[in-house]
Amino acid sequence: MASTATIHSETGAAVTQPLDAVARAGAVAGAGNKPARAKRKTPGIASRIISPFKNAISELFNGSGMTVTVLRRSAAVVLGVLLWHYAVEHDFKFIISFENVSSPTEVFEAFEKHLTSTKFYVHIGASLQRIVIAYGLAAVLGVVLGLAMGRSRLAYDLVLPYVEILRPIPAVAWIPLAILMWPTEESSIIYITFLGALFPIILSTVAGVQQTPEVLVRAARSLGARRLQIFRHVVLPAALPSIATGLSVGMGVAWFSLLAGEIISGQYGIGYFTWTAYHLIKYADIIVGMLTIGLLGSVSTIAVQMATAPFLKWQHKSR
């Protein structure tokens, strides 16, 4: 609702200068709005009322400022929730059915209730712990393997077949074997999560190393750098942007894989929470679980991006 208030305050300012506003609306809207006509016509009462709206709306569609961005994104979310609400209220049924879907208010209430219960945090804690262990291992091993593959033809040839064969196998397909292989359910879930995060990290790291400009390696050599120093001062920093991308993508895939593991096995975790909500016919909790997963996934990806940002600050500098 804050969005409409802002539009009104903007239009209020625009009404005081209708001529200017018309010209601006025409300019912003571009050729499609026939600015020539807007210029010629002296504004009557109707255009005095309409043009500020036109101005605000064209700004909302064509603008790119911070306020406009926030407004547009909030509007998109509000619209989605309203549609959801409407579909549930009217038992929408065409191919997909909303008959058993909880309404936004029900979900919000369920969410509120869970936020005060310890059990909910135990589920979140269990998932986070698995992510931290699995992702941590994948990040270290992925970067190390990727760097080795990027620098050594031998390492590349030895590891690449495994990456190519194993990478397309989805997390769900790993579950039976993982359960058979690993001593505990916990370890098999962590294994699946680890594997999901590993491949994007390896591949991005390899690409980053291979993209190192040769002239920089030459420059370092002529300045007296040896193999290890070239690696540390040239190859590694040159690969960092790509490694950072891999780490961020890897975090997304880690959550994806974790949830697959948690739905099928385990006793705790947000994936388990979501799946049992279905069995216990707590339909609002399904959506609570899903939204929590989405939120945790986004927050952890942003955390990875923030952790890598200080190493990349040179990238965004330009004249």
């Binding site: 030459r218 002529s222 300045l223 750098a225 040179w314 500098k317 330009s318």
Partner: protein, 286 residues
């Protein structure tokens, strides 16, 4: 086969002009029967045919030629990036076996480390070599001041213009106090005004350091304005077709470019290059 032709009888030995701070005792380069080829068998391409050259300590030598004539390859053999198929390159009687800090290199493309600030870039050499006194940062600051970029010491390369980046490149190459400075068309990507300023700047720095400079270019004016000697190279196969002594007085002023002596040298270079191009053209037609 010896391709060196002495063009100017006036100075039997290319004279190194006296200049303040001159201390060139080191930095003699000997290119001894060097041939550089790539590939094997029928695919083998000879980039530089057998060449013998002597460059004196403190000399400013320009290698002039069209693209693809092997001038950069010859320079890379001094730098140690390319190993000759025959013969050897010696710097102060030591054979070149690979790149090293005794030979500073300035590249055509911008080759600064983008993740290091100007100061970190210039201090890189001394730091890598473990220099302690003066500290790498102190050496860097001195050189950055010399190229007039003190205000930009903490900036990243992306924040600098092309000319400024090349000045940092020169400062970085000099930070190890090399015996030889190798420059591969360093001003090729700059606009002509910046280029002229950079040329004057380079001569001043050379005057202070008194080190040997080998400067590759395809610009006749640039070669004559900068060099004590101009080696004219020709393509297919790459070889030195003329070795001109540039006896223009130093310090050189940009106005020298309209002097008769400058124009005479320019005409000489043109003739040499044209003669060779025509010959090569006829050869290709045969």
């Amino acid at each position: 086969m010896l391709n060196v032709i002495r063009m100017n009888g006036a100075a039997p030995e290319p004279a190194v002009p006296p200049r303040p701070g001159f201390r060139a005792e080191k930095g003699a380069i000997r290119i001894d029967g060097v041939e550089i080829g790539f590939g094997k068998g029928d695919d083998r391409v000879v980039a530089v045919t057998e060449t013998t050259l002597d460059i004196k300590p403190g000399e400013f030598v320009c290698i002039l030629g069209p693209s693809g004539c092997g001038k950069s390859t010859l320079l890379n053999s001094i730098a140690g990036y390319v190993t000759p198929s025959h013969g050897e390159v010696l710097v102060d009687d030591e054979p070149v076996t690979g790149p090293g800090p005794d030979r500073g290199m300035v590249f055509q493309q911008y080759s600064l480390f983008p993740w290091k600030t100007v100061r970190e870039n210039v201090a890189f050499g001394p730091r890598i070599l473990g220099r302690g006194d003066p500290t790498p940062d102190a050496i860097a600051d001195t050189l950055i001041e010399m190229v007039g970029l003190s205000r930009f010491a903490d900036r990243y390369p992306a924040e600098l213009s092309g000319g400024m980046q090349q000045r940092v490149g020169i400062a970085r190459a000099l930070a190890n106090y090399p015996r030889v400075l190798l420059m591969d068309e360093p001003f090729g990507a700059l606009d002509s005004q910046t280029r002229h300023v950079m040329q004057e700047n380079l001569l001043k720095i050379w005057g202070e350091f008194g080190i040997t400079v080998v400067f590759v270019t395809h610009d006749i004016d640039e070669a004559i304005f900068l060099g004590d000697r101009v080696l004219v190279m020709s393509a297919s196969p790459g070889r030195v077709i003329a070795d001109l002594t540039i006896d223009l007085p130093r310090p050189r002023d940009p106005d020298i470019a309209v002097d008769d002596s400058f124009i005479r040298l320019k005409r000489l270079c043109h003739e040499k290059i044209r003669h060779e191009s025509t010959r090569a053209f006829e050869q290709q037609n045969r």
